[in-house]
């Protein structure tokens, strides 16, 4: 994944368009998942993310094309599991005002989960038994509908809030969102 990220990074910078770097936090399914035993939700459980993107004007429809590629590091508490989310967004943007940009489009999210394959002994009823951590990686692909807003402080700095609707054609539709800072190179 890191190899793909670095290659795309080189590509986007070498395109010599208005490239950008985005850093921020991503909350996967924050309103739909439980965080504690009292039933609290993961509303503000931000995971660090970094993304590269570029701006390409589409004068014919008064929009800008905003392709973006990013990685979310889930920062697992142990080394036994690894989880990475990679995303590729094909958003377009419309300038609502001089400083406010409305973004919308489609995205692809890849969630990769892997483990070390070890046996763990856990309680099972009144006794214990061995369970297995995953010993290989699996990647799940999701297409998302994206909607976001970006506020530009000046020519180089902007802050963005964006939502990503997963499984939007099914009853399992869930919302993830990100809050990020973008620096225009």
């Amino acid at each position: 994944m890191l190899r793909i990220f670095s290659i795309l990074c080189c590509l986007m910078i070498s395109l010599n368009s208005h490239s950008m770097v985005t850093v921020g936090g991503y909350v996967p399914f924050g309103l739909s998942t439980q965080k504690d035993e009292a039933g609290g939700k993961n509303t503000f459980s931000f995971k660090p993310m970094i993304a590269i993107n570029t701006v390409m004007p589409i004068p014919a429809i008064n929009h800008v094309f905003l392709p973006e590629f990013g990685i979310v590091a889930h920062g697992t508490q142990t080394d036994e599991y690894k989880k990475t989310t990679m995303f590729f967004l094909l958003d377009v943007g419309y300038l609502l005002t001089e400083k406010l940009l409305l973004r919308y489009g489609l995205g692809t999210f890849l969630t990769k989960i892997s483990g070390d394959g070890a046996i763990v002994t856990l309680p099972n009823g009144t006794t214990t038994r061995g369970f297995y951590r995953p010993n290989e990686g699996e990647t799940s692909w999701n297409t998302t509908l994206d909607l976001g807003i970006e506020f530009a402080f000046d020519a180089n700095n902007a802050i963005r809030f964006e939502t990503y609707l997963f499984s939007w054609l099914k009853s399992a539709r869930k919302l993830s969102y990100s809050l990020s800072y973008t620096y225009y190179l």
Partner: protein, 241 residues
């Protein structure tokens, strides 16, 4: 610097990944769509078969069917003729049609256990509710739904989690479990991931297992070539200007 680090620590949170599998390689269904049937024998102490089927549907729809990154689809079946009243897991499993999960009440589940769930890796799963555990009969509806959802997790291949908040934690007492945790999401996603949109049976991704040894491979050569071409184009454009 300390302030910045403190801010980062407060802003960002780590993930708890603690899900496990019942076996290695994982015992799971070969298809993502699984029908759940309920055994005809009523649960003498708690619910009728019809009520149990409604609880099973709620457990599926409110919990596992809501994981966007997981392709698993649990669908409501019917009350079927099988009787598991006096069955152990081993006795009940042969009664389960392939590609389905059978849920029923049994007085062979003993002790303080509320229920048992199991997948034998032969494309079938079983959930036995402890009919004579007064604690199951005394649970409120959301607790019954959570208990059944936990056992359904075992029936499609998940083991226990060491995360005390997770639905797949071994004990449910004193905890509100109305939603899954990210750990439950990850477990379901690992077992039943969504395929890539353009997946093709003759093409597979390069993994650590099938990675060719040595060299950068086709992808590396293609990427280097692409970068070189784009850079050259950019350089020539600047020269022309």
């Amino acid at each position: 610097m300390k302030f910045l680090l403190t801010c980062i620590t407060i802003f960002f949170s780590t993930s708890v990944l603690a899900f496990t599998l019942t076996s290695q390689p994982p015992s799971k269904f070969s298809k993502n769509e699984i029908v759940i049937n309920v055994a005809a024998n009523n649960c003498a102490q708690s619910v009728t078969s019809g009520e149990l089927l409604n609880l099973v549907e709620k457990a599926a729809d409110q919990m596992w069917n809501r994981v966007s990154t997981c392709a698993l689809g649990l669908t409501r079946g019917a009350v079927v003729t099988q009787d598991v009243t006096s069955d152990t897991i081993e006795e009940a499993l042969p009664k389960v049609p392939l590609g389905t999960i059978l849920v029923g009440c049994s007085d062979e589940v003993t002790g303080s256990t509320l229920g048992l769930g199991y997948n034998d890796g032969a494309d079938r799963g079983i959930v036995l509710i402890h009919d004579f555990a007064s604690s199951f009969a005394n649970l409120n509806e959301s607790e019954k739904v959570a208990t059944i959802a936990h056992e359904l997790g075992h029936a499609f291949g998940l083991g226990h989690s060491s995360d005390p908040v997770s639905l797949m934690y071994y004990a449910v007492g004193g905890t509100i479990r109305e939603k899954l945790t990210l750990d439950d999401f990850d477990g379901c996603t690992f077992l039943y991931p969504h395929d890539s949109p353009g997946s093709c049976s003759s093409v597979s991704f390069i993994t650590d297992e099938n990675k060719p040894s040595g060299g950068v491979g086709f992808f590396g050569i293609f990427a280097v070539g692409l970068i070189a071409a784009v850079s050259m184009g950019s350089f020539l454009n600047k020269k022309r200007r």
